[in-house]
Amino acid sequence: MALAVMLLDGASFHGGCCRHRALLSFLGPLLSNSKSYSSYRRPGAEPKKKLSWQNVDFSFKKSIDHLKTQLSLLKEESKDFLQGPGGHALRQHVLEQTRVLWQFRSQEDLNKWVISSDVEIGGKSKAYIKLGRNNQAALLYGTLNTEVPRDGETKYSGYCSMRSKPAVGSFNRKKYYDWSNFNTLYLRVRGDGRPWMVNIYTDPYFSHQKDDLYSYFMFTRGGPYWEEIKIPFSKFFFSSRGRVQDNQHPVWLDKVRTLGFTIGDKVDGPFQLEIDFIGLLNDRAHTEEFAYETYDKNTPV
């Protein structure tokens, strides 16, 4: 880019024709560093100081280390592959009725989750996560603020969410969870009475479906006692970009990518949620396949 500018400068010097200078001034914004001509930046977003391609590090040693890490990950994956589905023997896959997915006992358990709030769109909610007392739970706390950011296009605000980091295999390949053996999500939580939304994201292949989400609600009690909340997967409804869709269908559990908790109950004030562990359960008594729209849509004539 800089070379092109120099070439054009040279051209204008040698040519001496004002046509070149006009061309240069026309092409100037395109050729210069795009910092001053960036596209619209949302109110809460930080200004981009360095473009992503300027962050590339050509250090040979670092790339060798990176390659070594990826190869060791690949070796682990091959060992797990030899064990059986999901890294365990088949008899475990067939017999297991409970599984603990995430439990919060140390900082690295917390690092598997990402916190976000409406600060991204310019709102004023705050959300933090830390380990609870005696390192026995994760404490997600903060303040919800429904004040709408004044950018002229946002109508609602006030949400905080915690989402699991998607699993990544060797060489940055996507890894999916296979929860097809189970039919209920099991959560041991201690809330403060506020309702939360549990979201499952299946990370589809095509980008047309990237906003698809399966959600359900988790109503917490405020008490000092821990609650065990069971949410069957048959209750999860399908929404896309926040809008509940007309065509409902059950969530397919063979390719799940992330699980998330969101609070957005339009009430200003502090919130707090302690999570001991998140697990899966195969509830033998739960026989419902899907809770919504179970009638026959196309009745045969």
Binding site: F81, G84, P85, G86, L90, H93, V94, L95, Q97, D178, S180, N181, N183, T202, P204, Y205, F206, Q209, D212, N247, H249, W252, D254, K255, N282, D283, R284, A285, H286, T287, E288, E289, N298, P300, V301
Partner: protein, 346 residues
Amino acid sequence: MTPQAKLIFTTSLLLGTTVTISSNHWVTAWAGLEINTLAILPLIAKSHHPRAIEAATKYFLTQATASALLLFSSMTNAWFTGQWDITQLAHPTSCLILTSAIAMKLGLVPFHFWFPEVLQGAPLITALLLSTVMKFPPMSLLLMTSPSLNPTLLTCMAIFSIALGGWMGLNQTQVRKILAFSSITHLGWMAIILSYNPKLTLLNLYLYITMTAAVFLTLNSMKTTKLSTLMTAWTKAPALSATLLLTMLSLAGLPPLTGFLPKWMIIQELTKQNMAAAATMISLLSLLSLFFYLRLAYCATITLPPHTTNHMKQWHINHPTNTSIAILTITSITLLPISPMISTII
């Protein structure tokens, strides 16, 4: 789906298959393949589940690319030789491009990545159609052009297909994906013998279709798509589970079941053609797929699960088993003793 729509799509499938099989001009062959592709798309996407739509999209993209490549190869052949006859495929570049186009259509390695996902997204009967009926037209084109195809390329693709089909099917828990990998393995067996004895490819195709149809129809009547549901399917129809065991072992190629016949003939022909090393390699690689067939057989019949089922579809009153399942199962288990007669018929 309304019966009229289903009728139109199934008739179009039959039409497309017939047009391609009976054509001797490349453009009619291509037209038949396109009719097939378009007709099966609504059948895959019938339930409008995002995964089904994803499967339909993936299927369309790969098959359209393959059709375009096929047309391109026939065009380059027409440019060099001046004619569009399918059996007169003379130019080596056209042969190479055609082989890769057909490999994409069938799901041979390295163009197999779409196959398990598409089968997983489709309902069981559509998956059956994808594995059986949709293999006919590309296979017939391969058979018609088999004298001009590059044996090295076919052998490489075949060995990798058998290897990858066996290896990747090992840890699957979804039955449709397992059957997709079984399909890739069988296609490898079909491809390796194509240049030497195309009749054995045809024999393998027919027997594979019989066995796969038996398996899919059995799974459809048990309404199972997962390994864990397969374990509790014996409660409703124990005899069906037992025949599923035998059909699975037949797919694996164990004597004295029918599935042994094509493997035996192919290994014999390869040895006669001085390809004993390839024959040994593919026999050893078939042990991988035997592992997952045995696993399916264990889950379906031999192992008793410690719990009852909570899969509601298995609680409903089941219809009496189809006659077609009975006929297909018997054919896929008991045909080995009459193999001399079969060899003369094919």
